[in-house]
Amino acid sequence: MKGPSIQSIIRPIIVVGLCLTSATAASQASGPSKTVLGPQNPDLYHGANALLAGDGEEGVRLTLLGLERATNARERTSARSNLCAGYVVLKQLEIALAYCNEALADDDRYWRAYSNRALVYIKLGRLEEAEQDLQQAEALAANAHTVKLVRSVLLDVTNPVAPEIVIDDRRQPADEQDD
């Protein structure tokens, strides 16, 4: 059986991966004890929402503005990771990779950037590096839905499987009536 095209597997989930990048980062940036009325960095916030809506160009434009106006390290890291995801949507993988690298240079425990970079590496066919980043993301956020999706994308590239359903109507020995 011929496997599905790698591009056809990755394309839809790449977009999912980027869209699941934190949209709330801006509003979470100020720490748990401070009351925030609305996002502190509206451009970053709306940029993330544009990415969630699948609008790569607008998402990148706003996120770049958000990065310029970032007031703390958390916002900058979040913006760079989101830009990484945004440029994947725009199919500018080298720029995406550069932003992911910057995000991880800012914070080497930022799992979203590892997850996004793993997707970039998959897209670039650099599967060993993708595996390394995915392991990092899993170590930091094992239960994150995005990380699980990226793992499945990588598995679909390295170990594709086809579903098979077996329907067995044979009477089992223990089938004798229990009702």
């Binding site: 059986m1 011929k2 496997g3 599905p4 095209s5 790698i6 591009q7 056809s8 597997i9 394309r11 839809p12 989930i13 977009v15 999912v16 869209c19 699941l20 949209a23 709330t24 509003s27 969630l52 809506a53 699948g54 066919g125 839905h145 699980k148 999706l149 499945s152 598995l155 590239v157 390295t158 170990n159 594709p160 499987v161 086809a162 579903p163 098979e164 359903i165 077996v166 329907i167 067995d168 109507d169 044979r170 009477r171 089992q172 089938d175 009536q177 229990d178 009702d179």
Partner: protein
């Protein structure tokens, strides 16, 4: 606010995965069917359950046994899971049985009252890897 964003993410995820699935011809499962012709009812229309995408992504296989009654007209009822290795497979298996039918009984023949059971095995078969052009 966070709940709203989570909901939006879920919606987006679904919207993106559905067209994505359409791209994957290999997601149409291969089906093997073992019929038991020793029973008093013969299947007419057998619905094949879909392989749950969540399970496929996580490389989870499993087995579900569903028991049910078949009425005079061949419709299934009282569908219940008797045994399963993973809950993710139960709903597709139940739904498949609910939408399956059997040949009606000939006039004058009485229902036996015996439950019918059907076992579904959800398996994943490795497929050939297509190496992309660099």
């Amino acid at each position: 606010m966070n709940k709203m964003i989570r909901n939006r993410r879920t919606l987006l995820l679904l919207a993106l995965l559905i067209p994505g699935l359409a791209l994957r011809a290999d997601d149409v499962p291969m089906v093997k069917y073992t019929l038991d012709d020793s029973g008093d009812r013969m299947p007419l229309h057998t619905v094949v359950p879909a392989y749950p995408e969540k399970a496929r992504r996580a490389r989870v296989e499993g087995e579900v046994e569903v028991c049910f009654k078949v009425d005079h007209f061949g419709r299934t009822s009282r569908v219940a899971v008797r045994r399963s290795t993973n809950r993710v497979f139960e709903k597709p298996a139940r739904d498949a049985v609910r939408h399956s039918t059997y040949y009606p009984l000939p006039d004058g023949q009485k229902l036996s009252g015996i439950k019918t059971c059907r076992t579904f095995r959800f398996l994943l078969t490795p497929v050939e890897v297509e190496v992309p052009d660099s």
